[in-house]
């Protein structure tokens, strides 16, 4: 299986095709509904985001608490389509990768094509398995959101499948 080091380069993104199974290593940021809403509102007001998402990858995930000795708890993907309304704005600021589960809206697919980004699928409901691929985790911003805070995760060989590639093709 192909290994990819994050952040994603332009060449890597353009090389990826739907159905490709890849292993991600590097830094990713978790963000789900409330964090997206906050990002979106900041962008609407022309404010800077508290984390620089340029060339970064967001993981739609709200993990469980870590048991003592573990980096993180169970940490599978949440349903991506709930983030659809906010995604094009984030792609415009330079976000390049997203990891989640399920389908995306037409608007998201065309924004992925326009901004040359990529949407990965992680296996939903495999949070215990995926937790073993996370080496370190810390809250980056929005600590008040609890499990919905933005975490910075260091992942190693995190398994994903290309769901929508930079040409705008979707696996579904």
């Amino acid at each position: 299986m192909r290994k990819i080091y994050l952040p994603l380069s332009k060449e890597t993104i353009e090389d990826l095709r739907i159905g490709d199974e890849v292993l991600l290593t590097g830094t990713i940021y978790t963000a789900r509904d409330q964090a997206h809403k906050r990002f979106f509102e900041l962008l609407k007001k022309n404010k800077k985001l508290p984390v620089d998402l340029k060339a970064q990858t967001i993981y739609y995930c709200g993990p469980t608490a870590a048991r003592p000795g573990n980096a993180i708890g169970s940490c599978g993907p949440t349903t991506s389509s709930r983030m659809d309304a906010f995604t094009p704005a984030l792609l415009k600021t330079g976000l390049k990768g997203m990891i989640g589960k399920g389908s995306r809206s037409k608007e998201v697919i065309s924004a992925i094509k326009k901004y040359k980004a990529v949407y990965f699928l992680a296996v939903g409901g495999a949070g215990a398995y995926l937790s073993k691929k996370v080496k370190r985790a810390r809250v980056a911003v929005f600590k008040d959101l609890g499990p919905e805070a933005v975490y910075e995760l260091s992942v190693k060989d995190f398994p994903v499948i290309v769901g929508i590639d930079s040409t705008g093709r979707s696996i579904y």
């Binding site: 709200g62 993990p63 296996v123 939903g124 409901g125 495999a126 959101l145």
Partner: protein, 281 residues
């Protein structure tokens, strides 16, 4: 009369929250293994392997099977010869949920519906009580994830609607859940009663076994289950939604007589991490 202090109920609820979230239901696990064996698609086969490994890791390391440890639905069947003592029953159940979710390192996913403020402890639970014969208390905890809960549907059909219409509605509900709600699914169907009864029945249907011999006599319900399962698997949504032989592990139906003027039908979608645990005190 048998006396039970609600402290025992609190403890049982706490233990069941942990068991349900870390130890995949044996019938669900064996249905997954069976479906994995039938799969021919290479990529789908791999995903089945991940699901099986995930369940094994969760059990071994006492990790949540899925990070969405759900809203705790607690069903209580209380024998009429039981006298409950101590604090209120509702409080005991909610304290049990709080304790279980803390001990299990599970996610606190419950918020106020208007302010969206997190309660911080996954309480309160959705509690349902039923008075039954006997002197025992039977408790079931269903940690219900919302990826799949969001895909549930209900429809009030006309009494003249045919089985064909009902089937189409159920299959469409699964089609609309598509790849989003962690297929392969357990499809719970409630037919009849009233609006809320049909919804309740569809949830109860998720508690029926999903593997082995599921109905001994070929009742109309049983026949419908079989037909629906066949049709739903033709959707080829497959594990993780990227194609495969199995889209649903099972279709389970619960029914109740209804009114001459209508036909309520509810569909509850359970994901492959269909979790529940039961204990009797």
């Amino acid at each position: 009369m048998r006396t039970i202090n609600v402290k025992e109920i609190k403890k049982a609820v706490s233990d069941l929250c942990i068991k349900a979230n870390t130890d995949l239901r044996p019938d669900v696990f064996s249905a997954i293994k069976k479906a994995a064996g039938l799969e021919t698609d290479k990529r789908a086969k791999k995903i089945w392997g991940v699901l099986i490994e995930n369940a094994a890791i969760a059990k071994r390391d006492r990790l949540a099977i899925c990070q969405d440890t759900g809203i705790a639905c607690v069903y209580l069947e209380i024998g009429r010869d039981v006298k409950l003592t101590g604090a209120s029953l509702e409080r005991a159940v909610n304290d049990g949920v709080k304790l279980g979710y803390r001990r299990g390192y599970f996610r606190a996913s419950i918020v106020d519906p208007l302010t969206r403020k997190n309660t911080g402890n996954n309480a309160p639970a959705v509690i349902k009580t039923k008075i039954v014969n006997g002197d025992k208390v039977r408790l079931t905890v269903i940690p219900k994830g919302f990826g799949c809960e969001n895909k549930n549907q209900i429809k009030m059909f006309k009494p003249t609607a045919g089985l064909k219409d009902v089937k189409k509605f159920i299959i469409d509900a699964v089609r609309q859940a598509g790849p989003d709600a962690c297929p392969p699914y357990v499809v719970g169907v409630g037919i009849g009663g009233t609006f809320e009864k049909a919804a309740e029945l569809s949830k109860e249907a998720l508690l029926k076994t999903v593997s082995g011999v599921r109905c001994k006599v070929l009742s109309p319900e049983c026949r419908l289950e079989k037909e629906l399962l066949k049709e739903i698997n033709k959707l080829k949504i497959g594990p993780a939604g990227i194609g495969g032989k199995t889209t649903a592990l099972a279709v389970n139906i619960c029914s109740h007589p209804t009114h001459i003027a209508g036909l309520p039908v509810a569909v509850s979608i359970g994901c492959h991490a269909m979790r529940s645990a039961t204990a009797v005190i």
